[in-house]
Amino acid sequence: MTAAIAEAIETERPLPVEQSGGRRAALRAGLDQLARKPVFLIAVLYVVFVLVSAFWPTLFTAHGPYDTNPGSAALAPSPDHLFGTDIYGRDLWTRVLYGSPLTIKATLIALSIAVVAGLALGIVSGFFGGLTDSLLMRFVDVLLAIPGLLLALSIVTALGYGTVAVAVAVGVGIVPGFARTTRAEVLKVKTLPYVEAARAGGASWTRVLLRHILPNSWGPVAVLAVLDAGVAIIAIASLSFLGFGAAPPAAEWGTLIADGRNYLITSWWLSLLPGLFVALLVLSLNHISKTLQELTR
């Protein structure tokens, strides 16, 4: 008997007979626990706000993103212009909200690439093991040897600029880490007694993979996916900040911040407020990911 088992017995709390328990009750208990974490709720609300304001920006602003107004150029933040205005008198808050869909789209593309390719690599590698595993993991090692941003830059060089190219580049950069985590989870679950019990009960490998290994590996992988959404947002913003994003006048967050850079000394808000907007989003995603991780542990 191992120490882990002994400890588990020490902390187990079986439900009293009169309570029914079950999946719904477990879900409710989990949600209950989350609802009691105010910071987590704020983080979720902020992410929801960013998503909603990206697709219905008119709910949150009366201005248009391209409405120039020389009379109100370079105004500091005020209740009328939350983030101030740029040198053409355009409302910065509005421009940030209208820039959201581009960045969100890029993030979703990047994340889809990372999740699909990473999951596929990780599952195939962890599940089949042996030579397949060695080959795939050596490939992942090679990908990891090229620092992520540089790998992304090479892809951008080859594909040219634009939101999609940047998204693809960032997505590919995330794949190796994702593949490793998935593989580690699959390997861990694969050797557990309940998988063996299912096998002994006559279940095919396909059934074991779909019903046991995937559902039980999914937790940490999903947590990582949320975390990687934050990573992708930073990377996409960085690439568009460096000038590889969408062509003007369309403005991703990174582009807005880069544009404001030239007026830092006179109009600091042009760079810093959109930057803060992005940073808060990433921070929220990190916090959500961390809370979920603690919950699933």
Binding site: S154, I155, T157, R180, V231, A235, L272, V278
Partner: protein
């Protein structure tokens, strides 16, 4: 022992070669017409050229050869330290690199050192602070540091320390003062990454049974931490040293661009903007070399520091990538 060392070196060389090949494949196989791309990079309109001129240029850049011949040409050049000729600046890439790499190495190494010190100190304080609110605050801090995009940190630093306080120059490569803000900008990210890994490692170590044994001997708190927890907690963190150094190198791209420093990072940014393929390939190769070298050193040192790992078997390959993942790229 010798066998282990040679094996690790061979492995590192193979990984490096594969990384180079992969980057070459991305850069030379993905674009629809390398000729057009490279001409555009050189600032020439393809339409304005006669067939002979096109052929001549193709020959100049080696594009009339098969992809294998080009690959072989480039690879054999790299082995000799020749990275080809920059398309935009018409000078050997190795010259560009050697002019600028000093700046970047200075920046990266300083940032790596600062992050090692700051990250370890933060992790140590966050784990061993006695006052609970302080401990909670310090534990949350790295997540904050890893959430701010580097360009934001850099711009904030310029606005605050240069424009408001006037302490440091906002841009430039001259002197020690100009180095401080770039180093701090990079360190915010890398020390956060390191601290996150270390805090987790400390946490796990302190819950081990041998810590209870040590405390039961009647050792003081600090003796338990220094003699028993520190080494065991630091060992797994050692494996992400390569990631940390790699991160300081890639961070130089954004940092040097914002602070207008003439280093390899800014060279990379300009090269990508101009689609100057040989320069991009060279920068990626150099960065991958640094990453692989640091990992090789860690691999070779690890068995000396951890008695459980013998030189014959090597260390387990379970690097804590997942934790690092949150801030890389």
């Amino acid at each position: 022992m010798t066998r282990y060392v040679l094996g690790r070196i061979a492995q590192a060389v193979i990984v490096l070669w594969a990384a180079y090949t992969l980057t070459f494949a991305i850069l030379f196989l993905l674009p629809s017409d390398p000729m057009e791309l490279q001409l555009a990079a050189a600032g020439v309109q393809p339409d304005s050229l006669s067939a002979e001129q096109v052929a001549a240029i193709k020959h100049q850049f080696g594009l009339d050869q098969s992809i294998w011949a080009q690959y072989w040409h480039h690879l054999s050049g790299v082995v000799r330290g020749d990275f080809g000729t920059s398309l935009t600046q018409q000078v050997p890439v190795s010259d560009l690199l050697s002019q600028r790499i000093g700046q970047t190495l200075l920046l990266s190494v300083s940032a790596a050192v600062v992050s090692l010190v700051a990250g370890s100190a933060l992790a140590y304080l966050a784990t061993f602070a006695r006052w609970n609110p302080l401990r909670v605050l310090l534990t949350r801090l790295p997540a904050l540091g890893a959430s701010f995009p580097q360009f934001f940190v850099a711009l904030f630093a310029i606005q605050f320390f240069s424009f408001q306080l006037g302490w440091f120059p906002a841009t430039g490569t001259q002197g020690f003062a100009s180095l401080i803000m770039p180093v701090l900008t990079i360190s915010v990210l890398t020390s956060s990454v390191l601290a996150q890994v270390l805090i987790k490692s400390f946490d796990e170590t302190l819950s081990q049974a041998y810590i209870t044994t040590a405390r039961a001997k009647g050792l003081s708190r600090s003796a338990v931490h220094l003699r028993h927890a520190l080494r065991n907690a630091a060992l797994p963190a050692l494996t992400i040293l390569g990631v940390i150094v790699g991160l300081t190198v890639t961070s130089s791209i954004v940092t040097e661009t914002v602070f207008t420093r003439d280093g390899v990072g800014k060279l990379a940014q300009e090269a990508v903007l101009a689609q100057d393929v040989p320069v991009v390939l060279a920068v990626v190769t150099v960065a991958a070399t640094i990453f692989v070298l640091v990992n090789l050193v860690v691999d070779l040192l690890y068995p000396l520091l951890d008695p459980r790992i013998s030189h014959t078997r090597g260390r387990p390959s379970g690097r804590p990538v997942a934790v690092v993942e949150g801030a890389t790229l």
